[in-house]
């Protein structure tokens, strides 16, 4: 029946812009839940993702914690992987080439025990072709400052973000810890220190006790809570951050389906990351993207950006 321009018009725009990084859709993977991408490449076409965020990297490889590292909790899980990773160099040599074949930006999540380690890792990653943005995980203890967690003390965080900002020209995303009194304050500190975007939430510290053994189930005693259990906390935090910063927000925490992703977008996230859901459903990211498209069509909207931060609140 000839050209049908309407059917094209009817496909809503899903692309969003995070600090100059153009994502074809707002659905990315959460660090540590998607390996280095290849683990899930037999389940889905990685080119369909908004971005791939890889497992947290440090300047030298890490063995991580002893096992058990994982325990399930009601509608959630605790993990205490202990940031096991192959190190930035091996990542660049062995994992990055594989990821370059896909038309999807690669965001390197990284961390350190000290400001120097952060700087060093950021520099090495910034020089690697194929890394499109950096995500700083600041939920790690600062060795120099007597193991105070970088991401829970505004001063410590300011220092490390300022230092990393100088070390990279790539878009810099600061990943916030939810284990704080005032997440809005932490986001503002990150923004002022030069972050191009913030992502939240990282996991919430939790513990499960084996009552027979009278020991924590995890070898590390505590672990980080993720999954649907934390979603209402994460959505609230995204909203709090949205009210006080101007830089884009990447929202995550318990997103299992398109409806959950929409909660974050409406609360103010410009993109979302899917973590624990990958374990339950390896194609969760793709299904969420499809669901977002469907929602926009049903609501008669032509652009995902129309709903970002569209939350109407009562007095």
């Amino acid at each position: 029946m000839g050209i049908t321009p309407n059917s094209e018009l009817r496909t809503p725009n899903l692309s969003v812009d995070i600090a100059g990084l153009k994502l074809k859709n707002p659905v990315m993977t959460a660090s540590g839940t998607f390996g280095y991408g290849e683990e899930y490449s037999e389940f889905l076409d990685l080119s369909m993702l908004g971005a791939i965020v890889v497992k947290g990297l440090s300047i030298t490889p890490r063995q991580g914690n002893p096992t058990p590292r994982i325990v399930e909790t009601p509608a959630g899980m605790l993990n205490a992987i202990g940031l096991q990773n192959i190190g930035v160099e091996t990542f660049i040599k062995e994992k990055l080439p594989f990821l370059k074949q896909f038309k999807t930006p690669v965001i390197a999540n990284f961390f350190g025990d000290s400001i120097d380690e952060y700087i060093h890792a950021a520099e090495v990653l910034s020089n690697a072709e194929g890394v499109h943005a950096l995500e700083m995980n600041i939920s790690c203890p600062n060795k120099q400052a007597g193991w105070i967690v970088f991401g829970t003390d505004p001063k410590t965080m300011e220092q490390v973000v300022t230092a990393v900002r100088k070390a990279t020209k790539l878009p810099l995303i600061v990943k916030l810890s939810p284990n704080v009194t005032d997440i809005g304050l932490m986001a503002k500190v990150a923004e002022n220190a030069g972050a191009d975007a913030v992502s939240l939430i990282n996991t919430i510290t939790g513990m499960v006790v084996d009552v027979k053994k009278r020991r924590p189930v995890l070898a590390n005693n505590t672990g980080g809570l993720s999954g649907p259990a934390v979603r209402p906390i994460a959505v609230r935090m995204v909203w709090e951050v949205y009210k006080v910063v101007k830089i884009p927000i990447i929202g995550m925490g318990g997103i299992m389906n398109a409806n959950d992703a929409l909660e974050f977008l409406i609360a103010g996230a410009r993109a979302v990351a899917v973590g624990t859901a990958n374990f339950v459903n390896p194609t969760a990211t793709i299904e969420i993207t499809e669901g977002l498209k469907r929602f926009l069509k049903e609501e008669g909207l032509s652009d995902i950006n129309e709903i970002i931060g569209s939350l109407k609140v009562g007095s």
Binding site: F34, G35, Y40, F43, E72, M77, I81, N278, F279
Partner: protein
């Protein structure tokens, strides 16, 4: 052909209070599983239980996937409630598999470990000396099926309610005694609880030191808590001797049970 597919419950019947057998019919083309591989299974679609659980392939026949499982906690309990016709999402086959045996071999199963070993016995019929131990009679399942495809079967229970009373590893020690060898098996395949595997490791070490012993290799299927089953979360690692690491000062590395395993050479595992 995807490793993530929908399957229909054909039946799910209870063998006794503790054990059930689940038969699934995949709704799309699947990869053919090898003995030792596993699948991630979950009943229902609510957030509790949240994660899938790993189960060894127990049988694959006429495009039907069978799993033998023991009801332990909430994951297996909810699995036991699957009814004929229920459709679930499945990931698999995952992990490596048992290396192909040459000639006769020994299979050591502790409890539900039989689920993982049975496909091996079945593929290499009448070549296995099966050692199968459990706490009691109720915990021994599929004995007839196992006997029918094994060369010889040794059964023990902790309480003597079936077979010989005692530990299955003690029966194995007797059997391996070099001064009265009656077999030609040089390999052991094992799956069962960690204390059994540790004792096996001890046995193997002394066998290898003994020049009269025929045993030269031993493969064990390991268990760890899993979240993803596909190598992404790093939740399921075990300590393995660091032969493959660049830095030779490193005595061990972590390997993923779900990806580099579940089957490992017993010598490579660091038993703590």
């Amino acid at each position: 052909m995807s490793k993530y597919f929908k399957a229909k419950t054909v039946d799910n019947f209870s063998l006794n209070k503790h054990f059930s057998l689940l038969n699934l019919s995949p709704l799309s083309d699947i990869d053919i599983p090898q003995p030792g591989q596993f699948y991630m299974l979950q009943a229902g679609d609510t957030c509790d239980p949240l994660l899938k659980r790993p189960f060894s392939i127990f049988r694959y026949e006429d495009n039907l996937l069978s799993f033998l499982y023991r009801i332990r906690g909430k994951g297996t309990l909810s699995l036991s409630r699957l009814k004929s016709g229920d459709i679930i999402n499945v990931i698999g086959p995952l992990g490596n598999s048992y290396p192909v045996p040459d000639g006769d071999f020994i299979a050591l199963a502790g409890g539900i470990g039989i689920a993982s070993l049975l496909p091996l016995l079945d593929r290499f019929k009448n070549r296995a000396y099966l050692f199968y131990g459990a706490r009691n009679k109720e915990e021994l399942v599929m004995i007839d099926a196992a006997k029918g495809i094994s060369k010889e079967t040794f059964i023990t229970t902790d309480d003597g309610s079936e077979g010989k009373k005692g530990l299955i590893t003690d029966s194995l020690i007797d059997f391996l005694n070099p001064s009265r060898i009656t077999h030609h098996a040089s390999r052991i395949y094992a799956c069962g609880p960690t204390p059994m595997l540790k004792e096996l490791h001890r046995i193997i070490k002394s066998q290898i030191q003994n020049p009269k012993s025929q045993i030269i290799e031993c493969y064990v299927s390991m268990e760890e808590h899993m979240a993803c089953g596909v190598g992404a979360c790093l939740g399921c690692v075990v300590k393995v001797r660091g032969q493959e690491t660049v830095d030779s000062s490193q005595k061990w590395i972590y390997k993923r049970v779900c990806k580099e395993g579940p089957v490992f050479d017993i010598k490579d595992i660091i038993w703590e």
